[in-house]
Amino acid sequence: MSTKAGKAGASAAERITPAYRPIQSEKTAPCQTGCANCGDIRGWIGTVAQRGKTRMSREEAYTSAWRIIADVNPFPATLGRICPHPCEDHCNRAELDEPLAINAMERFLGDFAIREGLPLPRNRNRECRDWVGVVGAGPSGLSFAYQMARRGYRVTVYDARDQAGGMLRYGVPDYRLPPGVLDAEIQKILDLGVDLKLNTKVGADVSLEELKKRHSSLYLGIGAQEGRGLSIPGASGPSMWTGTDYLAHMNCGERVDTGQRVIVIGGGNTAVDAARCARRNGARVTILYRRSRHEMPAIAHEIEDALEEGIELILLAAPVRVERQADGRMTAVHAQRMRLDEPGPSGRRRPVPISGSEFSLPADSMIAAVSQVPVLEGLEGLDHDGDWLVADSAGSIGEDILVGGDALGLGIAGEAIVQGRRAAEQLHAKSRGLDLSNSRDPDLPDLSVERILFATKPNSEAVQPPQLPGDERIALGMTEVVQTISETEFLAEVERCFSCGSCSGCEQCFMYCTPGCFTRVEEARPGMYFTLNLDQCHECGKCIEVCPCGYLEVQ
């Protein structure tokens, strides 16, 4: 006996009972909304989580997942160690228990690719005679170089330093990002045929004009490597460091004598990194930050780790002068208590000094990690607003010159990588006469968190990457302190994903639709497991409401 509830009968206007006819509608995953760069996060997690349905072995699934990341980001092992992972802040799973450990999973896949020697993907473009130049071998420049090289362009990267990596190498301490990991991921880019010219400083070793003549196009990924100092009395003189300078010296393996008592000024990652390096050098370290903990831009767990390693954190305090002996030797830093006023233009609450609240801290040296700016030497002819280069919305800063990364304003490494990629896509489309509207970021509808059926998965805690206790970490010096999660942990973590807004092949719609509107597809893949035919639909909407990921919705 058949039922034709969805067919003839009362017209829509006359209907007494509601009609819930489903459509398949992929949505933007919230992790994606939050992520600067890691591509289709839901897609690469789903590739591993759903490997049983797509008949992939574990290794095949890992390889495929890594390729999804590497398509947009050639540094998963690197970012898996240092990214502040804003994607996790948007993860819907936080509504149930804890967000997915996306960053830790990305690191696992990045390490897998290094271990297995997986090459970065190449596009099927024919060889191209265009020779593009890249200034700066940091995350932005290398991302651009990778995206152009894979498309068949000849690429040369110039960098003033003696090693590639930019701030990834000189601004991130080795205990967070071992040089071997960065080297391995850079080597994958060089393996695509990218030519690397080190110790080549624009403006000194080669002029911008020469580069313009040499290359059909130029990309500037010069970063912002000059730390800003403090303009307070006594700040000029010995034992004063900027955060970037201090970290660069440390990362080059140089012995830096900061004395026993170090004061670090700032609340960002550079400040925390500098403080933890100084602590590893045996100093007693105090961080002074003028706002509250809530406003600290540094990664939350890095702050926790710093405290666990014995670093003192004084909040709502700013230095007002540095006390020195007659011979210039630093003896103390005088600071002042602050209170938070209404939010300023940045959206953060503005710190205001509290008069009469001055206090002093004994100090042998001070590291100011308050901000950093690009070095524009040799590039003065380009548009800039004060310290920063200014590009148009397409990233162009003149004819055949593109720019991205920190030179336009400070951001996280993921943002620099995405700017390099977008510039490459832009340039490639322009040189080949392609339509950029076919860009890789599809405009999908947003997903309401109410559509996720949290109760369909058991509660579970997110995986915590293994880490030694604070005192043992200090004893290990610059050895990496956080370990990669195990394969077992990785596989458990991917299972926690709700695949928000994309079909995960849970089969509930198929199983509970007794009229048989859903048909399994032959070649299943994440996001596509069933076709839908509504000829026999009863319009009950059960398929829509049992869909745990919000993929099905009412027409």
């Binding site: 006996m1 058949s2 039922t3 034709k4 509830a5 969805g6 067919k7 003839a8 009968g9 009362a10 006359e14 209907r15 007494i16 009972t17 509601p18 989580a49 759903q50 490997r51 049983g52 349905k53 008949r55 059926l453 109760a455 369909t456 998965k457 058991p458 092949g505 849970c506 089969e507 509930q508 198929f510 199983m511 509970y512 639709c513 007794t514 048989g516 048909t519 399994r520 009863h538 319009e539 009950c540 909407g541 059960k542 829509i544 409401e545 049992v546 745990p548």
Partner: protein, 469 residues
């Protein structure tokens, strides 16, 4: 339904059935899978663990249920009108299962039978026995603030208290692995068990996997019902429907019968008929008799579905290490599906714990329970067919109504027709008992008298008109 694994499942099941060499007793450490956590699955798990515990047998029970009864609407629903006879509530209480008030929303005090010739309110024939309205899931769509708790969710909790584990995974296949049933999950993983109890009902395509099995595994026949939920305030529903379930016996083509059940802020409309479609639903809800009782233009419909209804017994609802309980196997015709789930679930659990999990164990100790239900259903079919014939004739409709009205007006009179209608609608008594009642000389003589009185010009409309007014 194109399920790719059907053929292989059929083959493996045959092997399971033929596997006579194995030891079929449950032992310490035995693992039991229950596919589906409706009443049958939960009752089975509850009784199995309770009995196992009583004889110091340590077994593991995994209940596979991907859905959560926390959700309103279809996501947490189990397609049911939601009427439980108080007799079942009392039977459960005798087993130590006391259903709390927030689960069983008591308060339905009578049935009102509506026909085009009038209506009659039938009070509970035994005043201590009322009927209970409940929601299998967490209520219909938009029912988030309604003070209710899922009946199925409560039973599931009972099973987990005994030690059952709820596994939120969908089972998509079953095969045989080294003589043991192996379940396949949606993610491609598999797991073997010593016993699998299938309790998926008939509204899941999982049953299709079993329906392709050879020989005696012929599936139960099904038809489609129609259930829709109307939402208003509790006061409005009470004002419109009172504390009565309203049953409609109308002469509409393809229409069998329908009931409107008040449940707090909601009213559940349940329809049974032939080839139910929107047109028939529309015709029914716009019928003048229905509109007088339940004007749908003031109470919006928020939820509807066309669930499959089990019409008969699976011929052989068991095999070696496999047993089908509740609607998946055998249930009562149209009524008291929860009662049948209780009986078959408990019988299967008793068999597994005390006798074994071989096909012959189930045949000897589980099948008799199923068979008694199946035999009773055969009588039920005759009863419903007779009812359909009587409902379609104005003369017999009037006779039924007159007879029931007179019985209700005279509490001292023996309530032959009232009891019959009450039991037909509530499922409180077996069909054979109802049938026996219709053979009572008092029933036959009174029915004949009312048939004649209905035909006599002076008396034909008197009582009926009074009621309609």
């Amino acid at each position: 339904m194109g399920l790719s694994t059907q053929a292989s499942v059929a083959d493996s099941f045959s092997r399971i059935i033929e596997d006579e060499e194995k030891d079929f007793a449950l032992r310490d450490g035995s693992r039991i899978a229950v596919v589906g956590s409706g009443p049958a699955g939960s009752f089975f798990s509850y009784f199995l663990l309770k009995m196992a515990n009583a004889i110091d047998l340590e077994v593991e029970v995994d209940i596979f249920e991907p859905r959560s009864f926390k959700y309103c609407g279809p996501a947490g629903c189990n397609h049911c009108g939601g009427i439980v006879s108080e007799s079942l509530v009392q039977i459960l209480a005798a087993e130590g299962i006391v259903l709390p008030r927030r689960v069983v929303q008591r308060g339905v005090e009578s049935y009102v039978v509506h026909m085009d010739v009038g209506n009659v309110a039938i009070e509970s024939p035994v005043h201590e026995q009322r009927i209970a309205a409940l929601y299998r899931g967490n209520g219909p769509r938009d029912g988030g603030d309604a003070p209710m708790e899922s009946f199925d969710g409560y039973l599931q909790g009972m099973a987990t208290q005994q030690g059952a584990e709820i596994v939120r995974q969908l089972i998509t296949g079953m095969e045989c692995r080294n003589g043991l049933p192996e379940l396949k999950f949606a993610d491609g993983e598999t797991k073997t068990y010593d016993l699998v109890a299938v309790a998926t009902g008939v509204n899941s395509n999982f049953i299709q996997l079993l329906d392709d099995l050879p020989g005696d595994f012929e599936p139960p026949k099904t038809t489609r019902g129609y259930i829709c939920e109307f939402h208003s305030t509790e006061e409005e529903i009470l004002k419109i429907l009172g504390r009565s379930v309203h049953v409609f016996l109308l002469d509409i083509p393809r229409f069998e019968f329908a009931a409107i059940i008040p449940k707090g802020q909601f009213a559940t409309v349940v329809m049974v008929g032939e080839d139910l479609d929107q047109e028939l639903v529309h015709t029914f809800l716009n019928d003048p008799v229905v509109r007088r009782t339940f004007p749908t233009d003031t109470v919006p419909c928020v939820c509807s579905c066309s669930p499959l209804i089990n019409l008969g017994a699976r011929k052989r609802p068991y095999g070696n290490r496999v047993v089908m309980i509740g609607d998946s196997g055998v249930t009562r015709l149209y009524k008291d599906g929860i009662g049948a789930a209780f009986r078959t679930g408990k019988a299967a659990a008793t068999t597994a714990v005390f006798h074994g999990v071989a096909a012959e164990d189930f045949e000897k100790h589980f099948w008799p329970t199923c068979k008694s239900i199946a035999n009773d259903n055969a009588i039920g079919k005759v009863m419903f067919a007779t009812n359909a014939v009587m409902k379609n004739s104005r003369i017999t409709r009037r006779a039924m109504l007159r007879m029931a009205q007179r019985e209700q007006d005279k509490p001292s009179a023996k309530p032959h027709m009232s009891s019959l209608l009450w039991n037909m609608f509530t499922g409180s008594a077996p069909y054979w008992e109802m049938f026996r009642g219709t053979l009572h000389p008092g029933f036959i003589s009174k029915l004949l008298y009312n048939l004649a009185a209905g035909l006599w010009p002076k008396t034909k409309n008197a009582k009926v008109k009074e009621r309609v007014a």
